[in-house]
Amino acid sequence: MSSFNELWELTRTRTLLFLREPEILFWVFIFPMVLAAVLGFAFRNTGPSPNRVCVVGGGDAAALAERLSGAENLEVEHAEDLEEAELELRNGNYDALILPGSPPVVRLDPQRPEADAARLRIELGLAAPPADGDRDPVLELDEVTAIGSRYIDFLFPGLLGLNLMGTGMWSIGFGVADLRKRKILKRMLVTPMRRASLLLSFLLARLVWLFLEVALLTTFGVLVLDVPFRGGLFAFAALSVFGAMIFAGLGLLAASRVRTVEGASGMLNLIMMPMWLASGVFFSYERFPEAVQPVLRLLPLTALNDALRDVMLDGAGLLAVAPELGIQLAWGIVAFLVALNIFRWE
């Protein structure tokens, strides 16, 4: 009876304290929505972007420019001065320069992502008959729009994972460090309060706002950003709870010894920063060299993000993401066990 009361009151207190910090509300709820909206807008699919190229020189150049101007997705300009045109090429204003001749010379930097497209389009433009002679098409185009393949669709589950990590680790890590620093932890220790109740109350309170956080963000993503939600609600909810608990454990671990909130925030950043970059939140971790990818896949946030994407975008069930769940479970168990063993109460 009393032990339930104590747990209830501690959990209620933790939740109240959270709701009374407007800053926390901003970072947990508003910030990720704004981030998703802004990134989704900035990287929206706008169709293929045209290449700007420049034909340089006198005489033949004007005719060549004229001939290319009909080519698809090619913005063709004409300039007399080679030096100036080269400067524009270096600055990225032109994707390629074309010097008349037989055959014409195309100057470009093959390291740049636009180079291939520019080259291809120039070749196509030059290959086309000068007049509009009818020629049988080589292939026919069938255009479709695949929802779920946009950048925002990739990004959104990653942001959700990132938020589960951030909120979980900050709320627990910071909360514990603050209680310790201000000796409230010590004050509670001289009462008959069970230590387990205090730690458990952090987890339960985390679940309360986890629900709010995930429900609000996901609704926003699906309704406003049109992100697909193809998986089952149960699998999704289970995955969220699972992820939140793992990071609660890591937050507890980060704060288990530190004496100051500054120390805690350093420790939390140290743990989270690599995952911000390497766990496939903003871009796929497959961009990293193949040799490190197996390691990246073992990071808790990578596992969570992969599983969230599988469930949200591909409609996978819990069984299909079992390997990711296993990785997370291992992290969670180790984090909790170590944290409880090295925890500094005073």
Binding site: E9, T13, I184, R187, V190
Partner: protein
């Protein structure tokens, strides 16, 4: 309220307490007893080992040596029972800033299997009007009273107070004292640390004066003061030149002077016969043409005892 176990049993007993931090001996073998229904004060300057001592009693720090018994129990055998039956106020503990007074008390109340109604505690510490105010909006004195309230929610039999009024203004200090006196009137036992002699004299029935981890005097405040054997303390301010014109031997030879002590620009005499001493002192000053800048006499206090025993003031830092 029938808090204490009745009679004059011993509520808190410490025997041979020792606590070391590396080479530093914070508490070097201290014994004392707090009788049920009384207040025992640990008086001493900062760094004397008072807080280490009281935190060992509260079960926060295990002593390296020695034994502690609280209400007949030991920390090893019955920690939860002891925690249930004591109330604690730590030195400089914050409470949760964004919780209201009432919420704070209710939280602490749930830690105990029995205790007071939180409304009653609000009354005890005089915070009824602040019940819905956030902790961060309270004044220093109100926070301290709330901390006391958190210690009283459990209907404790023993109250541990570690410097309960440090940093408070005189009025706020008196309000805290009144709450402690109410608790004592109800039969509770108090263990108090302080470096304010006024606080110790007012609240404590028995005192243990500690310095550098050792007990240097003990007994009731009156008995400790009487041990000085002086009727009054005479303080002379003479300025530097004036003080040099007199030497200790001739001052000690004045009638009724028990002890002579010098501090910069001032001389303090412990005196057994005030009138006789003054009768001889003033002519002496006259003969030496020493100008008296200031002259005070007062009844001896705990501070004077402390100075006599250690050569330091309680609040020297």
């Amino acid at each position: 309220m029938s808090a204490a176990g009745g009679g004059n049993g011993v509520a808190v007993r410490a025997r041979g307490l020792v606590k070391r931090y590396g080479d530093l001996v914070a508490v070097g073998g201290i014994d004392f007893e707090a009788r049920s229904g009384t207040c025992l004060g640990l008086l001493g300057p900062n760094g004397a080992g008072k807080t280490t001592c009281i935190e060992m009693l509260e079960g926060l720090k295990p002593p390296d040596e020695g034994e502690i018994e609280i209400l007949g129990r030991t920390w090893r055998s019955a920690p939860r029972e002891i925690r249930q039956r004591i109330g604690v106020q730590l030195q400089e503990t914050d409470l949760l800033d964004k919780l209201t007074v009432l919420e704070t008390l209710r939280l602490f109340r749930t830690f105990y299997s029995r205790g007071r109604d939180v409304g009653e505690v609000l009354g005890l510490v005089g915070l009824e009007e602040k019940r819905d105010a956030w902790v961060e909006k309270l004044s220093g004195g109100q926070k301290q009273r709330l901390a006391l309230g958190c210690a009283l929610v459990s209907l404790p039999e023993v109250l541990f107070l570690d410097e309960p009024t440090t940093g408070l203004d005189p009025q706020a200090r008196r309000r805290v004292w009144e709450i402690v006196e109410d608790f004592k009137r109800g039969g509770g036992t108090v263990l108090l640390t302080s470096h304010y002699m006024e606080e110790a004299e007012r609240l404590a029935d028995d005192l243990v004066i500690v310095d550098r981890g050792k007990v240097i005097a003990e007994g009731s405040p009156a008995a400790i003061i009487a041990s000085l054997g002086a009727e009054s303390i005479v303080e002379l301010r003479l300025g530097d030149e004036g003080a040099d014109a007199l030497d200790d031997e001739e001052l000690a030879a004045l009638p009724g002077v028990k002890e002579v002590r010098r501090e910069t620009g001032a001389i303090t005499l412990a005196v057994t016969a005030t009138q006789a001493c003054m009768g001889a002192l003033l002519p002496l000053l006259e003969r030496r043409a020493v100008t008296l800048e200031d002259l005070h006499t007062h009844r001896p206090t705990l501070e004077d005892v402390f100075v006599a025993l250690t050569g330091k003031h309680l609040r020297d830092e």
